[in-house]
């Protein structure tokens, strides 16, 4: 039982990170119907930015309180990563809006290749380890919960609450939801569609940057190629939850996290990704539009 709860906590931590990335996928998909393949690499850029900020802080000041260091890392990462995603949207996706469906998918794949290789070229191909930032571990009745995990879950919960508020209670969120339903109609009603889409990309990137910072803090290491696997898993999570649905993305992220930690705990660690992908396929066979996704209505 203790072992099970322990795995539950590990899964929750992992799932929070996947959930944060998945929101970026699902929002972009909801609003312009494209798979943003570069999102995983945006996450990696966020983590790298956090790493460099961490090193700058270490070089400039003798010692910085961990809370402040984390905050600064997160904020700078959010800003710069948003700038990346904003530029990419403007350069690579916007000119192809209204073109046929696969065109932006290919530019997204191209951007993903370009981003990861840009980081490889500028920062070197090696793994970048940092000293552990937070090492406190609490022991509650045989279950060890590290402070890192608590931080991840709390930050994720706070951000999701903020995000929920933005999407459901502000005029910006209303504009986003309107664009999601019918872009042409929204434009007719005076919504600046281009701006709304840009903001969607910025929001997705900011969440991915936070996920990147938390990933760096949790694992303490990052490499240029680390965007792919979390990216694919987060995308899997978004599809599992029903692509286009925000609660679905979080739910899917948590599910993937749980599947992974349970599978590596009870079966074999080698096949944890195989398990996650297989469960995706099985779920989709029975629920073809994901768990919380709206079934696609066919209009003739």
């Amino acid at each position: 039982m203790q072992y099970f709860v322990q795995q539950l906590i590990n899964g929750l931590t992992l799932g929070s990170i996947y959930g944060l990335i998945a929101i970026g996928y699902t929002m972009v998909y909801g609003i312009i119907g494209m798979i943003n393949f570069a999102h995983g690499d945006i996450f990696m850029v966020g983590a790298f930015t956090a790493l460099i900020v961490f090193l700058i802080l270490g070089a400039l000041f003798y010692s910085v309180p961990v809370v402040i260091a984390l905050l600064v890392m997160m904020i700078v990462a959010m800003l710069l990563t948003s700038l990346y995603n904003w530029t990419i949207e403007k350069v690579a996706y916007r000119p192809l809006r209204g073109s046929f469906r696969l065109a932006p998918l290919i530019t997204a794949i191209g951007m993903s290749i370009a981003l990861s290789n840009f980081v490889q070229v500028t920062q070197g191909p090696r793994n970048k380890p940092i000293p552990p930032m937070v090492s406190t571990v609490y022991n509650i009745e045989g279950i060890s919960v590290s402070l890192k995990q608590i931080v991840i879950v709390i930050v994720t919960a706070l951000l999701l609450a903020l995000f929920w508020y933005l999407v459901n209670r502000t005029s910006l969120g209303r504009a986003q939801r309107a664009c999601e339903q019918d872009r042409k109609m929204a434009a007719l009603l005076g919504i600046d569609v281009d701006r709304t889409i840009s903001i969607t990309f910025v929001m997705g990137a900011a969440l991915a940057a936070v996920a990147g910072t938390l990933f760096l803090m949790y694992y303490g290491v990052i490499a240029f190629s680390d965007g792919f696997t979390p990216g694919v898993k987060a995308f899997t999570a978004a599809v599992l939850g029903g692509i286009g649905s925000l609660p679905g993305a979080v739910l899917g992220g948590l599910m993937i996290g749980f599947i992974e930690s349970m599978w590596s705990a009870y079966f074999s660690i080698d096949y944890k990704d195989v398990a996650a992908f297989s469960i995706l396929a099985i779920v989709l066979i029975f629920l073809p539009s994901g768990i919380l996704g709206r079934p696609e209505v066919e209009k003739v």
């Binding site: 460099i52 370009a114 090696r126 380890p129 995308f235 696609e296 003739v300």
Partner: protein, 531 residues
């Protein structure tokens, strides 16, 4: 009631007025993007701790370059392009006017003379100019050669256009012969010709043709049936491991295992396709992606059979239809049988013709299938699934046949790949490969075999050319490695080509069924990859 008027927007700034402002914006964005990634570099010191290396001058150079580029583009580039359109319309030279201005007889003669002089001086270049300038001279020679060839192609464009397939196949069939002959003349002996041809036949010829074949195979799934498949490399892997395992364990011949690998891949295609093909659009895409990853992960982790990430080595070579072999130690080694000098180039040239034959087989089957009921059902399915169903087409079997046929060609290509490399490992079957193949299909204009072949040549050949740019070391210092920038440039090229030609290189179709006369249809009227 207050009447509000929108502010006057009709004051249009001249390009010269806009340019400095745009340049400033571009500079600010570039600064923001690059400040941490180029201004600083993370490096490990002796005690393995990360330290930051400052490179502010590089950052400054890049930001200034970005600003200058943006300034020139807004101030001169955009007006020039806009002007060009007016000129083109006035002269009625659309759309060839740019090309006719670019390819002119005097330029052509100049290029020929440059090439001739530089080839004549080839031996003494290093002595005359020193190693630094000689590198540039060789690069200039390559550029001039390409320009001269392109001019020739351009002047004969109507002829080439009319006989494209025949000319293309002839050129491909003669390619190794020409390479060997040219290099033999250049090097002065036949042996040198064979030895020098290795790189050209292997790195350029075989490499590009493998991708042509894979892209033509994927084209059946994506271009014809309109199913977005992001895990095509899985079938490639199945084919490769099929040959690698059965060839090394049971010593079976390539000629038996080639069809077996195709059948195996097709079987996996059906196995995957059966449960998931009722999914639509992006759900199908992610499941195929997941399937590709599952295959790769199984290959890595099932160490007892696949030897894990170390891969399988010692895969037997292809034999010359069982009559001759390409192993020097065998009694029926080709050079012994034919009584010629030993060279490793024979095998490569044989492989070149083998993959060329496989490619032509793929093209032939695709062309014939498009005219058969099943091919028409695929294209109908791509255009409108509901209409298909109401006309009584069984969409599941139609999708399955497309999936299985595409997978089969992936399997053929895979077994060829294993035979060519003599070594397979899961490293070769990552998602990036699927992405590259899909990109070639889309860039080629989906459904157009010629366009896809051109796209493969441009993208794969282009990245191979980047390996040759050693003279850049003279510019940027000896620790500059052009190869590092290969994939970065590849990714950017994908974006740029897509922005430039969103419909791919060949944006029109020859319809398979028509009334009275066949008219090419613009690609804009066909749908693709909606699942």
């Amino acid at each position: 009631m207050a009447v509000t008027t929108s502010p006057e927007r009709d004051i249009v700034a001249t390009p010269m007025q806009r340019a400095p402002r745009e340049a400033l914006y571009a500079g600010a964005i570039a600064l923001g993007l690059f400040v941490l990634f180029i201004g600083l570099r993370t490096d490990q010191n002796i005690s393995n701790e990360l330290i930051l290396v400052q490179r502010w001058w590089l950052l400054a150079v890049l930001v200034v370059l970005t600003m200058a580029g943006r300034f020139l583009y807004v101030a001169y580039g955009q007006p020039f392009l806009a002007n060009q359109k007016i000129v083109d319309v006035a002269t009625g030279l659309l759309p060839e006017s740019v090309a006719t201005r670019f390819f002119r007889l005097p330029y052509f003669i100049a290029a020929i003379v440059t090439v001739a002089v530089l080839v004549f001086l080839a031996g003494s270049l290093d002595g005359l100019l020193g190693p630094g300038l000689a590198g540039y001279a060789r690069f200039l020679r390559a550029l001039a050669t390409i320009y001269a060839l392109a001019s020739v192609l351009f002047y004969f464009r109507t002829f080439i256009h009319a006989h494209f397939s025949a000319l293309g196949i002839t050129a491909l069939a003669l390619y190794p012969v020409i390479v060997v002959l040219v290099l033999a003349l250049y090097g002065g002996s036949v042996a040198a010709g064979f030895q020098g041809s290795l790189k050209w036949v292997d790195n350029y010829g075989i490499q590009i043709l493998i991708y042509v074949m894979l892209a033509w195979g994927l084209n059946i799934v994506v271009g014809l049936a309109g199913l977005l498949d992001l895990g095509y490399v899985a079938f490639y892997a199945v084919g490769a491991y099929c040959y690698a395992l059965l060839g090394t364990q049971y010593g079976l011949s390539f000629w038996i295992l080639l069809p077996a690998a195709g059948a195996m891949a097709a079987f996996w295609g059906v196995l995957l396709g059966f449960p998931v093909l009722r999914l639509r659009g992006d759900y199908l895409a992610i499941v195929t992606l997941a399937f590709g990853e599952i295959i790769r992960l199984v290959l890595i982790n099932w160490r007892e059979v696949t030897n894990g990430s170390a891969g399988i080595t010692g895969i037997p070579k292809v034999t010359f239809f069982g009559l001759m072999t390409f192993n020097v130690s065998d009694p029926n080694y080709i050079a012994k049988v034919l009584d010629i000098a030993t060279s490793s180039a024979y095998y490569k040239i044989f492989l070149y013709y083998l993959i060329l034959g496989l490619c032509l087989l793929t093209a032939f089957v695709t062309i014939r299938l498009r005219r058969m009921p099943v091919g028409r059902a695929w294209e109908a399915l791509r255009e409108d699934e509901i209409a298909c169903r109401s006309l009584g087409i069984n969409t599941t079997t139609t999708k399955l046949t497309a999936f299985a046929t595409g997978a089969m060609f992936g399997g053929f290509a895979g077994s060829f790949f294993a035979a060519r490399q003599g070594f397979v490992s899961p490293e070769s079957f990552i998602f990036l490969e699927s992405a590259i193949i899909l990109a070639i299909v889309v860039l080629g204009g989906m459904g157009s075999l010629v366009g896809i072949a051109v796209a493969a040549m441009v993208m794969i050949g282009g990245t191979e050319v980047l390996r040759e740019l050693d003279f850049l070391k003279q510019v940027f210092g000896p620790d500059f490695t052009p190869e590092l920038y290969r994939m970065l440039l590849f990714g950017m090229a994908m974006v740029i080509v897509m922005l430039w030609k969103p419909r791919g290189f060949v944006g029109s179709r020859e319809p398979t069924a028509f009334l009275k006369e066949s008219r090419a249809v613009s690609g804009s009227f066909t749908k693709e990859g909606h699942g």
